[in-house]
Amino acid sequence: MITHLLSIDDLTPEQITEVLDTAAGFKDVALRPIKKVPTLRGRTICNLFYEDSTRTRISFEIAEKRLSADVINFSAKGSSVSKGESLKDTALTLQAMGVDAIVIRHSASGAPQQLTGWVDAKVLNAGDGWHQHPTQALLDLYTIRERLGRLEGLRAAVVGDVVHSRVARSVVRGLVAMGVEVTVVGPPTLVPTSVETWGATVTHDLDETLPKIDVLYLLRVQSERMHRQFFPSEREYARLWGVGRDRLDKLPDDAIVLHPGPMNRGVEITADVADAPNAVIAEQVTNGIAVRMSCLYLMLGGEA
């Protein structure tokens, strides 16, 4: 059982495996004519979204509804937050209404952890600031395992803006936990010097890395970073760290390419790579629903 899911580091490798195995069972639900199981009937889950999100919010909502939970969507714009209510007061209000779990997305790192101090409900982090996005890492691990048959012993490169990425923090730690050898690649301005303490190695040379990996994980690079002078131009970024057809050809034949979305086609990834047969980006999205069902089930399902 999982109490809260705030960081991928909250899970042991055995628990991660349990999440992935359970997700495999839930994946079949999508293939049924009636895509629903009664697992969380009578449970109330609030999706508390303080930051714009399309795919993550919809993915959670589908996962919750397929589990038959009662779902409340609360987004910062259409709520009392715009009238200045604090996160704590909002949390206490939800507590008073008796929700069983809160799925929270917030632009401030640590907000989900703070929430656990204010409510009895279980808290699932759907992305906080630059900190963590654990279900993203889990769906990525699921997708890799499904495609390549294993995790242990694989080699992966995580490429791009690591400093500002909750996805990178989650994915690198998740891969390392499952025995994947991880290399982080990107401009030194966007790779924290202490990445080695996460269990990964660092290089700034993508071309030298590509032939040696099974998994290429490209991170989204926001143009905002260019304006803040983390790199001189999108063109230069694409030349040094972006992946197009030429670089795709340097990968071993059975290697796969992942991206958490949304993509900046033409910057970190070109259109022909995004649509290549070994790019599994759409599968990541599909698997996200089953993995989120699995997490919610393991957090809430055991109690009746």
Binding site: K88, G110, A111, Q114, W130, H131, R169, T193, S194, T197
Partner: protein, 450 residues
Amino acid sequence: MNAERSTITFTGARVVDPASGRDEVADVIVSGDRIIAVGNGSDGLRVDAHGLVLTPGFVDLHVHLRQPGREDAETVASGTAAAAAGGYTAVCPMANTDPVTDHAGVVEQVLRLAREAGHADVYPVGAITRGLGGEELAEMGAMAAHGVRCFSDDGVPVRSARIMRRALTYARTWDAIICNHAEEPDLTEGAQMHEGVLSSVLGLGGWPREAEEVMVSRDLILAHGLGARLHVPHVSTAGTVELIRQAKARGTRVTAEAAPHHFSLTDDVVRGYDPVYKVNPPLRTKADVLAVREGLADGTIDAIATDHAPHPPEQKEQEWAQAPPGMLGLETALAITLTELVGQDDGTSPSPGAAGDRSGDGALSLSQAVAALSTNPARSRGIAGHGGPIEPGAHANLVLFDPARRWTIQAAVTQSRSRNTPYAGTQVRGKIVHTLLRGRFTCRDGEVVR
């Protein structure tokens, strides 16, 4: 009140007075607002002070009393009550009030409020620039006329080297001190905590050591060239300690302070994202903590200053990124100093049965600790009548504390209007018993006198 102004003899205290070099058991007789005798003898009311340490009242070069403007967080009266409870007889409130203390009117207001409250003497710090805007010099002369001798835009660095140089030069009119918030703002954009291993794990924007050290370097060079007086606030990095050490060796007229949280806590406490640990400059690493202790021990850092920064609960109970930086300090500074820095065998026998908690690492002798809390800050700022010496004829600005008494800090037990202590639940050693401001108890038997 009259009774309290009469003659009192404190008998048997260990008198620690760095200004005179005295460290011995003696009886101290106070009559009216003065000390009239130190030695053997007794007159008037006898107060048994065996086992207590008697020193000059503490002087805090860096507090935020929040009045005018943020009376919900603190007032001059509540902040100086906290000072009295913490053994302080003089405090220097920073200028980042609302309106800013950049003209004589606010200085007068703060002085009047302090006189009315009567808990401690207050020496306001004036702003360097109008509205802390960093562009136009504030009218230092108008504030100097009310006794202001230190100017600071604390909280906001003076970004322009030209303005900083002008301020250092202009302040020479009164041989006044310029204290620049030591932070290069270009390097701390979006900064939320110390930049290091932990900030990269927690996903919080990093506040690199270099941001402090670049600014301190610039200011030391400017002050040295002009022969002007510079004070470096809240030293937080090993590199800054070394820069100041070198500058002092070169003869730069620089003084420096360190806050208790910077010699007792590391960034590790940020793990839980509780904004009570958010402070500017941020909590750093063990190596920095040790360097700050060394700086205090060898005199590179002159003073312990609390940077007492009250914030109401609703401000601190927010997302980390939104919560304002700052911590309370006045009521815990002595205990943290003794617990962390002064060995308990320094003439202070521990209470029987009390064991198993932290003991100071002996970085400072008790006398050095008193110098850093009282004598040095009073001297460096020219605050007459405070900081000792403890001798006949001197103003009776004194504190008596029990160096061995163990207690647990509780956030709710405070004179402050706010509760944002980072030490809630911490077991410490050393408790204030009495504080006297010109012979009158401002704190008696641990209770603030009103």
